[in-house]
């Protein structure tokens, strides 16, 4: 499991670094959640964007698709480690783009995106000028995965009731 997360993190980092090469991020706009290259085990995603200047942003959420066996399908996260290039992906919007205007020096845009299935998702945040055209853009990738493996039990499995009762009884008679 740990190995898979490391592989996914490295793969997502590579994807993001490609993005940074052609898009300049607005220093007054920060994506707080999901954190960069996050792997999320949920069918919903909370997007939180911190804006520290009066400006308007536009937030897009895309699902990344790849061409497999003659059709576009969700990115197989296991294949990311095999050097798949993001340039071969197609981005389909998950929700209509949402505009948010910050009128002061600190505001947060928050939105819960529901009904997500496992795959690779891209969050794109654009800063718009007064004409509504993007002047800055940033992109972040997030992987949605299904929780498949059983987590280890947190506590030691309690002994059977009778055994524990006897143990407590003996302790109460003879001390620890």
């Amino acid at each position: 499991m740990r190995k898979l997360i490391i592989v996914l993190t490295v793969a997502l980092s590579l994807l993001c670094s490609t993005v940074f090469a052609f898009a300049s991020a607005d220093p007054a706009v920060v994506l707080v959640n999901p954190v960069s290259n996050a792997v999320v085990y949920s069918n919903n995603l909370l997007i939180s964007v911190k804006v520290t200047q009066p400006k308007t942003i536009r937030v897009h959420v895309y699902t990344e698709k790849q061409w497999v066996n003659g059709k576009w399908s969700a990115v197989n996260l296991d294949n990311l480690s095999r050097g798949v290039s993001s340039e071969s992906f197609k981005s389909d919007p998950v929700i209509p783009a949402v505009k948010f205007t910050c009128k002061n020096n600190l505001s947060f845009f928050t939105k819960q995106v529901n009904g997500l299935s496992p795959g690779l998702y891209k969050i794109k945040i654009e800063t718009l000028n007064s004409s509504g055209n993007p002047i800055h853009a940033m992109e972040r990738f997030v992987a949605i995965k299904e929780k498949t493996e059983d987590q280890a039990k947190i506590l030691n499995t309690p002994q059977s009731g009778t055994m524990q009762f006897l143990q407590n009884l003996l302790k109460s008679i003879f001390g620890n």
């Binding site: 949920s42 939180s48 505001s107 506590l155 309690p158 009731g161």
Partner: protein, 489 residues
Amino acid sequence: MSKPIVIEKIKNLAIVVLFISTVLLLYFFWGNSINGNINNQNDQNDANDRIVEVIKPERLVVYFGSDNYTVIPDGDTNIWKNSGSEKDINMVGELKRFGQSDILVKEITDKEYQEVMKYDKSICAEFAYDIPLTDFCSHFGIKKQQSYDAIEDVTEVGYSTAYAESIFIRDKKNHKYYQLYSDKDHTRFKKLISTIKTKGYSPYYPLSTYLGVENDTLVPLSVESNMRSFSYQQDAYVHQTEEINKFAKSFFGKNFDFIRKITENDGTVIYMYGYGQRVLIVNTDGSFEYKQEQISNGTEQSMSEALITAVNFIQGHGSWESLSRASMTPYLKNVIADPDKKGGYRFVFGTEINGSRLFYEQGNAVVIDVSDGQVSYYKRNLISFDQDEVNSLEAASYDSAFSPVNLIAQNYGYIYDILLKEGIVKESADQPYIFEDIAKLITNMQTGYIKAESKKNDDRIKPVWVVSISNIDIFFDLYKAEPIGYSAE
């Protein structure tokens, strides 16, 4: 008829009369005694019912897995406790059911407790105070077992699907956590969690998720609310002599004719018995204060017994209605042991209006001190309002409350100033990080009504966001996020 025969007949008659008298006397004495026992039992049951009604968790935290939470305020009593029907699933019912099986107790660590409550699905009732386990079991009808002896108090009680056969208890005062496990699974808790999910409560996230600061306090993403501001009056005005006298009689009873009544220059009216052994003060703000000289009789009460004394006293002295019969639902807000170093307990009660808590910028709805089995101090500061007006206002459409996260972003400077004034924070030279510093300190965010200072707020009760930090509640307009005031206890 000879004389001896007459004497014998008189003797026989006397025996018959004595026998009948004995039977009648026994009937009257035993009959009263049996009825008395039944009445006492009924009184005890009534007192316990009243206590169960006021001991409510401050909130129920429900974890649906994968970082999805909701928080149910105490006003939604159906999840905590309901009619008691077998078909209904609620926390109290399931705890009772759990308590019927053989239970073993194991102490666990803080980290294990946190992990268990974040494993798959869980539900946890969080109280604002510590309840002695014995009292908790007796009030909620849970069978007390010998294995519970290790546990002193209950501050949180929860269930996690990680261990379907267990419930978990947090004793906040003693910094201890326990796993109570039985010999069978209790899957109805899981059903309860599923039922809550289908009801569509607002999603909550930790503040760290929204703001990127270290703070696990759960805050709703958004809130739809039907709360509206409404007009109110004081519980009583000093000129309402008839109502006040009637209320005063409940304290002084037959001695009322011997009471001295003093009217102060500012309008405050004082009713005094003897040389101040018992005093009732009717303040100009509509609140009442009753003080009674304490006579030590060596009666030591548990918290539960003291609470019964307090609740019975309130029931007999004004109840939970304003003098004009506006009805509010009480809840136990806080318990302070040994408040004035004279032993006993101070109970602070709050009230709810249609399931929403009513906060006070100054004071509380009811404060009552009990020691040695007696009430030594009682202050009630209820309000009067038109219940029909509130119902019709709340029947209107729901509106979106101001975004809680942006409320903090918009008002962190105001919050910082209050914390500076109250000595919670020191003046920071690091101005750019004040927002993060304030956000880290927030311990709760909830909605409710506020009884603010009347000069500023036109005698209206207003819907508010309440931001809590330490023991300070800071109030903001629910829909506009404008600052209203704060209370510090």
